[in-house]
């Protein structure tokens, strides 16, 4: 079966001030549908850049990114946006919720850009919040929620459009240990329903929750099939 994600010879250079930094060098890997993959490596190894490219947010300097067979960066910005909207969900270390919108409104955001009718959107968003166990807090704004709750809202937002792929950048980095475990078990639960997850982390313990590890070092792919040690 064709892989969901195929990266072929991905290279990314960008300018840091006057210097030219090689963030990724000739990275080739695949992710199959339904996999739970951790991308690990020290700080500066290019993990976040890889995630940006997987999310269609950053254009590689060279190489191809095929999502379900489609060449993502052959599309124009609007088409990529639509792809991102429907097929990819994002979770960040610092949650990235819109601070003055309620939990419900935050979860609704991807639906707003999907041009669905309003009433359906509200219901769908509410369902997602129930899924992550936060329906009772849906009218609260982020400042009224704990870190773990905010991340759960962010996860609800990421999956509200029922994407094929969930990308998580250090999702537990800003959380304490017990909350971290809660979030990770939520992700595992979502994975068990068939969601493909790519999780970026420098924390080995976190990475151990995944089924497969991809290691990066200085922008180069070290290994891509190894289990976590």
């Amino acid at each position: 079966m064709e892989p969901l994600v195929a990266l072929v010879g991905i290279t990314k250079r960008h300018h840091l001030g006057a210097q030219l930094v090689q963030a990724l060098s000739d990275v080739t890997l695949t992710v199959r549908r339904g996999e739970f993959v951790a991308v690990t490596g020290p700080s500066g190894s290019g993990k976040s850049t890889l995630l940006s490219i997987l999310g269609g947010l950053d254009r590689p300097s060279n190489g191809q990114y095929l999502l379900d067979g489609a060449d993502v960066f052959a599309l124009n910005r609007t088409q990529i946006a639509e792809l991102r909207n429907k097929r990819i969900g994002f979770v960040f270390q610092n949650f990235n919720l819109l601070p003055r919108l309620s939990a419900l409104e935050n979860v609704r955001l991807p639906l707003f850009y999907r041009r669905r009718s309003v009433s359906e959107a509200r219901t769908k968003a509410q369902l997602m919040l129930e899924r992550v166990g936060l329906a009772h807090r849906m009218r609260h704004v982020p400042t009224q929620l704990s870190g773990g709750e905010q991340q759960r809202v962010a996860i609800a937002r990421a999956i509200v459009n029922e994407p094929d792929l969930l990308l998580a950048d250090e999702p537990t980095g800003a959380l304490d240990t017990s909350t971290r475990d809660q979030i990770l078990s939520l992700l595992a639960e979502l994975h068990s329903t068939g969601l493909t997850i790519v999780l970026v982390t420098h924390d080995r313990e976190v990475g151990a929750h995944a089924r497969r590890a991809i290691r990066l070092l200085d922008g180069v792919l070290e290994s891509q099939d190894g289990p976590m040690v």
Partner: protein, 411 residues
């Protein structure tokens, strides 16, 4: 439908940055208020002018004694005495297109009634003067020919004089003393208001020309038949056009002026004078509108400035939206609408301010103000458009944002 959602989104965003937004649109608020007020005042003035043209009566020329170089300032009896009542009769008879040529003498004197007195304009006239100037009678009667023939001591008084000298008493049949002579009031005129120079037209007492000359204003020994002015009314616009040169010819003949000598009289077209004033109002309106337009432009730049800052501050928000699946067009639309809404709010505030100031001016100074709501709505529409135009650059900036920024900032 989605546009409504965006408008709502814009509204909420503006609420978040309320103080900054208000300061940004100050230029627009003032610009719009200023434009509306200037146009309201000028339109009010022009409506007044229009009314005055109508109240002056149409097809009128004023012939005055004195050289052409004069500004037409009212002369005292006894200074240039080159026009006579006979001149007036000659004009009426010899020039076909002329309906009347009404002679006029006047002086400012004190009129007395009982223990009240009032300084007013005493005017000696012939009956056709009333018709020439479009006067209407409120009570009583006009002068008849016999009043003139017998130099009767009768008077027709204006509304202001009736009010000041007779208060609530009916003035008809009562005496009013002018100088050493007592006149009987036979008529009271309907109100006319101010003329185009701002003078109260109702502050006047009309007496027959003959009576004026004999009893009250006196006559000069040099030229006993002299009058201060002749009001000429033509019967049509065509006659009006021809009248001036014809009057000139007749008077020059009568005054026996040789070829070279200048006219010893001048002819004023009253309506032209008033129209000249109207033109001045219009030019004034145009000028101030241009200035207000500049203010609007500056206001627009202020909005653009604030929007640029706002966009720079909200990169994270924009990034989150892009990550959630917004395309550049969505972001562009969001900020364009925000800029437009900002300016529209400015326009509406300007409208309210303009209306309030207009009412204040009308109440305080008694000016006639014509506030046009149609113009006001158009002004608000212009403001909305201004917002769209000045929002283009900030919206483009926002739409071009690299969403990877969001991820990098997360480190």
């Amino acid at each position: 439908m989605r546009t409504l959602a965006y408008i709502w989104l814009a509204f909420r965003s503006l609420q978040l940055y309320a103080l900054r937004s208000v300061l940004a649109i100050l230029g627009i608020v003032i610009g719009i208020a200023a434009v509306l007020d200037v146009i309201s005042v000028a339109e009010g003035a022009r409506a007044e002018v229009s009314r005055q043209i109508n109240s002056l009566g149409s097809h009128l020329l004023l012939v005055l004694p004195g050289a052409q170089l004069d500004q037409g300032v009212r002369k005292q009896a006894g200074s240039m005495l080159t026009l006579t009542a006979t001149d007036a009769r000659a004009l009426a008879q010899e020039i076909p297109g002329i309906l009347f040529a009404a002679p006029f003498v006047d002086a400012q004197m004190t009129a007395v009634s009982g223990n009240l007195n009032w300084s007013t304009l005493i005017a000696g006239i012939t009956p056709e003067y009333f018709e020439a100037r479009g006067w209407m009678l409120a009570r009583g009667q006009w002068f008849q020919a016999e009043h003139l023939a017998t130099a009767a001591k009768v008077a027709v008084i204006g509304n202001t004089v009736a009010r000041e000298l007779f208060r609530s008493v009916d003035s008809i049949g009562r005496p009013v003393r002018i100088g050493r002579t007592s006149y009987t009031v036979i008529g009271v005129l309907a109100e006319k208001g101010q003329d185009f120079t701002g003078r109260d037209q109702d502050d006047v007492i009309f007496i027959p020309l003959a009576s004026a000359k004999i009893f009250t204003l006196g006559r000069s020994h040099a030229n006993p038949d002299a009058v201060h002015s002749i009001l000429v009314k033509a019967d049509s616009p065509a006659s009006m056009a021809e009248a001036e040169p014809l009057i000139t010819r007749v008077l020059r003949e009568r005054h026996k002026l040789p070829e070279r000598k200048r006219n010893d009289f001048q002819i004023q077209n009253l309506v032209q004078v008033v129209q000249a004033r109207d033109k001045i109002y219009r030019q004034f309106t145009l000028l101030v509108s241009m200035l207000a337009g500049i203010s609007l432009f500056v206001g627009g730049i202020g909005v653009m400035n604030v929007m640029l800052v706002t966009v720079a501050e909200r990169t994270t928000e924009i990034g989150i939206r892009l990550v959630a699946g917004a395309c550049p067009g969505d972001i562009r639309k969001q900020f364009l609408l925000e800029a437009s809404l900002l300016c529209t709010v400015g326009g509406m505030l300007g409208l309210l301010l303009g209306y309030a100031v207009a009412r204040l001016l009308a109440a305080t100074f008694g000016w006639t103000i014509e506030f046009s709501w149609v113009l006001a709505i158009m002004a608000v529409g212009c403001a909305a458009l201004l917002g769209l135009v000045f929002g283009i650059i900030p919206a483009e900036r926002a739409a071009r944002l690299d969403p990877a920024v969001v991820l990098r900032s997360g480190q």
